[in-house]
């Protein structure tokens, strides 16, 4: 297993945002995480990426215990993520955003820079440019804050990929995308998985989840209420109840 969460919990005041969740993500798959609003999906992601600390439980990544690590340490180990609602460096260009994404893979070039003719990051810039092309962005020098919303989402994915991660966590990547865009996103995810990347996908777009995920876990009120292949999850009574209420309306 690439990522293992063992009975992890996190409370905010009296609210169990995440309660005793077990999760095992095998390498090379797209693992879906779904659930109604407020189910604890984003909290779970923040726990995995180190932005929040667990109250109890353990997280292992690639066999090593990473429960207490900070976000930047997890990034170095190969965990990259995007954010629900997009968090780009708005005042920097698209290319610079991707270059910051490569931070964990670049050696500090401060001293080499003091020599006036040096451009020690030429190769990194080329790779960043290729990543932008790959996600379909054509204006590397445009300010990130000025991009259309769908473009910002794709730039965030390019930035995450720049760190050459082993695990990519996408928090609602298709929100605000039209059908054509979300189809392109699906194709990109499939291509990335074919190259050996592992993806954890949080998404409300049922079609995208069904099309890409090999396994899906369902959260409700901070607890995992179901896990299995997408078809099984779609047919599950517990899941329907979580979304639609206990009266069987479907």
């Amino acid at each position: 297993m690439l990522l293992e969460c063992e009975r992890i919990s996190r409370r905010f005041g009296g609210v169990h945002a995440v309660a005793d969740v077990d999760l095992a993500v095998a390498p090379g798959q797209v693992f879906g995480l779904i659930g109604p609003n407020g189910a604890g999906k984003t909290t779970l992601v923040n726990l995995i990426s180190g932005h929040l600390r667990v109250d109890s439980g353990a997280i292992r990544f690639a066999g090593a215990d990473v429960t207490r690590l900070a976000p930047h340490e997890l990034s170095v180990r190969g965990v990259a993520r995007t954010f629900q609602g997009v968090r780009l460096f708005k005042g920097l260009s698209a290319l610079e955003n991707v270059l910051v994404g490569r931070h964990a893979r670049m050696r500090s070039d401060v001293l080499r820079r003091l020599w006036p003719r040096g451009a020690p990051d030429r190769l990194d810039r080329e790779r960043a440019g290729l990543l932008l092309e790959r996600v379909g962005l054509t204006r590397p020098y445009a300010l990130a804050g000025g991009l259309a919303y769908g473009d910002q989402r794709r730039l965030e994915i390019a930035r995450a990929l720049a760190s050459e991660p082993r695990l990519l966590i996408l928090d609602e990547p298709a929100a605000g995308m039209n059908l054509a865009e979300s189809t392109r996103l699906r194709d990109l995810m499939r291509a990335l998985v074919a190259e050996g990347l592992t993806i954890v996908l949080i998404e409300h777009d049922v079609r995208l989840v069904m099309d890409t995920c090999e396994r899906v876990a369902v959260l409700n009120f901070g607890r995992k209420i179901a896990e299995g292949p997408p078809a099984e999850i779609q047919a599950s009574r517990a899941v329907r109840e979580a979304y639609l209420g206990t009266e069987d309306v479907a």
């Binding site: 990259a80 401060v110 820079r113």
Partner: protein, 290 residues
């Protein structure tokens, strides 16, 4: 040539002070560039001023060594201070660093060898203009190059979004601390130069007013580029001289000009230059590049 010589003689002090103020503005610019509002640089300036003056007067340490030791002492103070205050953000960070400034001022008033409230007098005026401007050129060049490096990009990323920056593998605390320590060392160096330009120093020279003044230099000039703080310090230091014919009204006009800049050019005076560049790019249909 003679006219230039006369000009330099008459305005020697002002020209020196401009260079020192530009160095101070750059010292606070580093932390501003990383998105951190700190107001401790007047205190670090004091550390450099007192350290180099005392080393020179009591122990006969030559000026360059005295400046270096002052900068080192200042950096050594900035390390534990930074570890403590960078748990804070925004206004709280600013207030904590103001607190540090007051501590330094009171310590200077109390220590047996700093001359207490009278300060130090008769400091040999051995700072030459070229000392100041060589320092300024070196500091500005280094910062300009650092801006384009991995470190400069990390600072910019922290400024734009700290949470996202952490996810890109940037050790936030370490980078903030590096910016703070570098700023402290530069402020101390400028303080040492200033002490040996002015014959005398006293704790009151390095109080809250001074801290705010340094910040204003940097902000008026604009933060995104290295030229901004230098520009801001030059203009605001020269302004009282330029406005001298206005006699007792000159501070009022200096204040009005400052307000005008802040209100109409919130990104600083450097905006004026950028505006022209953007306009030119728009003309050739490449506005995206800007």
């Amino acid at each position: 040539m003679d006219a230039l010589g006369d000009f330099l003689r008459v305005y020697q002090t002002t020209i020196g002070v401009i260079g020192i103020n530009a160095l101070l503005a750059l010292s606070v610019w580093i932390t501003l560039y990383a998105g951190q509002l700190t107001l401790g640089n007047a205190a670090f300036m004091a550390v450099g001023a007192y350290a180099s003056a005392l080393l020179g007067m009591r122990l006969g340490v030559p000026l360059p060594l005295g400046l270096a030791l002052g900068a080192l002492l200042s950096a050594a103070l900035a390390l534990p201070l930074g570890l403590a205050v960078f748990r804070l953000r925004g206004v709280y960070l600013a207030i904590a660093t103001i607190g540090f400034g007051e501590v330094v001022r009171v310590v200077l008033l109390t220590l047996p060898f700093t001359g207490k409230a009278l300060g130090l007098n008769g400091i040999p005026p051995i700072t030459e203009l070229w000392h100041i401007y060589l320092s300024l050129v070196v500091v500005a060049y280094v910062l300009w190059r650092v801006q384009g490096s991995t470190v400069g990009r990390a600072w910019a990323a922290i400024r734009e979004d700290e949470v996202a920056a952490a996810s890109q593998g940037i050790a936030i605390r370490r980078y903030k601390l590096a910016a703070f320590i570098a700023g402290a060392a530069i402020a101390a160096w400028a303080g040492g130069l200033s002490a040996h330009l002015n014959f005398s120093i006293e704790p009151g020279d390095f109080g809250f007013t001074r801290a705010v003044q340094i910040l204003v230099f940097a902000v008026v000039g604009s933060t995104p580029s290295v030229a901004g703080p230098i520009f801001g310090a030059t203009l605001l230091t020269a302004l009282p001289e330029i406005l001298r014919p206005l006699k007792e009204y000159r501070d009022i006009f200096a204040g009005l000009i400052l307000m005008g800049v802040i209100i109409y050019l919130p990104r600083g005076l450097v905006t004026l230059i950028e505006l022209r560049k953007t306009r030119r790019l728009q003309e050739i249909g490449a506005a995206d590049v800007a």
